[in-house]
Amino acid sequence: MKPLAPTLRDNHRYVAFRLNFEDPVTARDLKAEIAGTAKSLFGDVGVSKLNVRVVAFDGTKGLVRCDFRHVPEVQAVLASIGKIKDNRVCVTTIGTSGTIKAAIEKYLQIEEKIRRIISSYVTVPVSGKAVRICGKEIDIIPEDTETIDRADVQFIGITIDDNERLI
């Protein structure tokens, strides 16, 4: 079949995003969740207009392709993702671009902070076991699980300023 003329092809936008998670997520699960959330928010007809598709995902950052008229809807879809397979996540959009090359150059070349696994008992501001450190952020598994149950998360989040002994 003869390919479509360039002027007749669909115009796309590429939305770069960052994924914050408690446990790592696979690209396959993320794609399924984006499709499910888009369908739940906009229905089959809406999803067909969005033309949303995950182009790349490396575990923490990725690119979503969509129709150029429906970027805010795709941002709403990404914002509506709170869990992937019972694992709490947060998808933050970094920016939008017209080509994959520009999106990678502008938004995806920022180096991610390395997440280190640690094991240290803390008492301030909450008593529990510190398990992860990423930049200034520390995740703690508390002894008292009431707070994490209420917030529906696995860890209590503190910073180095909250507990200077962990530097």
């Binding site: 914050n20 408690e22 739940s40 928010l41 805010p72 809807e73 941002q75 709403a76 990404l78 914002a79 509506s80 993702i81 709170g82 869990k83 709490r88 996540v89 947060c90 933050t92 959009t93 501001p125 909450v126 200034k136 952020e137 707070t147 994490i148 209420r150 917030a151 529906d152 998360v153 860890f155 209590i156 989040g157 503190i158 910073t159 300023d161 909250d162």
Partner: protein, 218 residues
């Protein structure tokens, strides 16, 4: 450039993250400031008095609500009321000591009618739209809240009631960037301009007005 503020964030010990962690994440997302608000039953558990702390009053009766407003109005940065019950919604809108009525739609109905909207406009009580249900609830419940909030937004637009948009976060995973909150606000039929005002001008005015009121009373 707008200064974005989120005034409906819940921190440790009520939520899962300390205020500093929430601040760090919110700053990275593009917020200039967040105001940690504690539900009134957890207020006593916040020992750090240097923190600008707002309150979200949870009251079972109108009498209890008035009592709590009188107690909190001088000591908190923002006085908001946990909505849902229609009597509480109406009493909150009637009281000019209240800054924000949060999520009035979290009951059986949308929680606001034309009478309540007019009262809110008269007493400068802003309506708080907490968007956490987008990522915390499933299809049916989400569509129900969305329908209620859309109805409330149209009432606010008609009667000139101030609106604020918040993430209602209990942890850093619940925080969303201003751009994402604006994208979600579009689904409530708020325009981009209105969403910008709801995320920047209105919360800043509320904080400023509350500080002036506190100063005037002291």
């Amino acid at each position: 450039m707008h200064i974005y503020v989120d005034i409906g964030v819940h921190a440790f010990p009520e939520g899962a993250d300390t205020p500093k962690r929430l601040n760090l994440t919110a700053y990275g997302l593009g917020f200039s400031q967040i105001v940690v608000t504690a539900h009134s039953p957890y207020w006593a558990q916040f020992p750090d008095s240097s923190l600008p702390l707002g309150v979200e009053i949870v009251a079972a009766t109108v009498r209890d609500l008035r009592k709590q407003i009188a107690y909190f109005r001088d000591i908190s940065t923002v006085v908001s009321v946990h909505g849902g019950d229609e009597r509480i919604n109406r009493a909150a809108c009637k009281d000019d000591r209240v800054d924000v009525l949060m999520h009035p739609e979290r009951g059986k109905h949308s929680g606001i009618n034309q009478v309540t909207a007019k009262l809110a406009e008269k007493n400068e009580v802003a309506l708080g739209f907490s968007l956490d249900y987008f990522w915390k609830t499933e299809e049916l419940e989400r569509s129900r809240f969305l329908a209620f909030q859309r109805r409330n937004v149209s009432l606010c637009q008609k009667f000139g009631v101030q609106v604020i948009v918040t993430s209602g976060a209990y942890s850093h995973l619940d925080l969303r960037s201003p751009r994402q909150l604006k994208a979600l606000a579009r689904l409530l039929l708020l325009t981009d301009g209105e969403a910008d005002i709801a995320l920047s001008k209105v919360p800043l005015n509320i904080i400023k007005r509350r500080a002036q009121k506190k100063e005037a009373r002291l």
